[in-house]
Symmetry: C2
Subunit: 167 residues, 2 copies
């Protein structure tokens, strides 16, 4: 697995699993009814956002996109020393450590960029795999906003604010 | 004091105290170096954001803008049932209950709009007047992200996530 900066041409290969994950309604509060065109601006953000893809190079060089992450300052101005990030892993590539590899990439990227910490603003509390992964990587739960996410199957569930100090 | 929907012509009267408050560096993480033109899009947001001004009608009908608030869904899609808001009160109009009046307006507006709760994402912990006001209006501190705000005088201080359940 290789993690590299995403380029414009990657979006058509990110969009199918981005769309699937948003439609499942278990993890992300993106606008409903996005299309491949309108969804792009929600993920492929310009600098200072940094968007990467995790790819399987493939035996014949025909790489497959397994997941993607975007990262950047959580707030402008006097909050720009704290980073944030979002992650999407193709459901067809789960269990291969893609999320962990992207998370470790984030930590390296944020440390190299001189960030003071990393904040996740909205981790769905029932997304236990993600919560466990972020804990394993050193994030702690700062607090949980009750019933802030309308889960497609479970109804209203909480959103964790998570934080990892870096310096 | 009257609270009414802000119109385009209000921005030149909001901008001076918006700019002063951001420049003081004690309460908000807006981009540095905003101008009256570039600052406008950060405050005068289109629908579904709802922007209001608190005005003193004045004896001669020449109203003065004392403060402003913007409110709307905190997240799109599966998070849109929780509202959020931001407040700016002209430092020259402090102590007149402008913040409280805008806060009470927010509660009425969010209840009328069917919101499930209201979340403040980033209340500077050393902004004790605001924290006390929000507590008095029924908000609780969900958690505090340490050192997430670079205060102009105090250095790195925490940002509270605050929440008020409505239904």
């Amino acid at each position: 697995m290789i993690i590299r900066k995403a380029v414009t041409e990657d979006w058509p290969r990110i969009w199918p699993f981005f769309d699937q994950i948003v439609a499942q309604g278990r993890t992300y509060a993106y606008p409903l009814g996005l299309t491949r065109q309108t969804g792009r601006s929600w993920w492929m953000e310009p600098s200072p956002s940094h968007v990467v893809v995790a790819v399987d190079p493939g035996p014949d060089g025909d790489e497959r996109v397994l997941g993607s992450a975007k990262m950047g300052p959580n707030r402008p101005g006097r909050g720009a020393h704290v980073a944030t990030a979002s992650f999407m892993v193709d459901p067809g590539a789960q269990g291969q450590g893609v999320g962990r590899a992207l998370g470790e990439y984030l930590l390296t990227w944020a440390r190299a960029g001189g960030y003071h910490g990393i904040q996740f603003n909205a981790v769905v509390e029932t997304n236990t795999g993600a919560v466990a992964l972020w804990r394993a990587l050193g994030f702690e739960i700062i607090g949980t906003v009750p019933e802030a996410f309308d889960h497609a199957e479970l109804g209203l569930v909480g959103l964790h604010v998570m934080y990892h100090r870096l310096s």
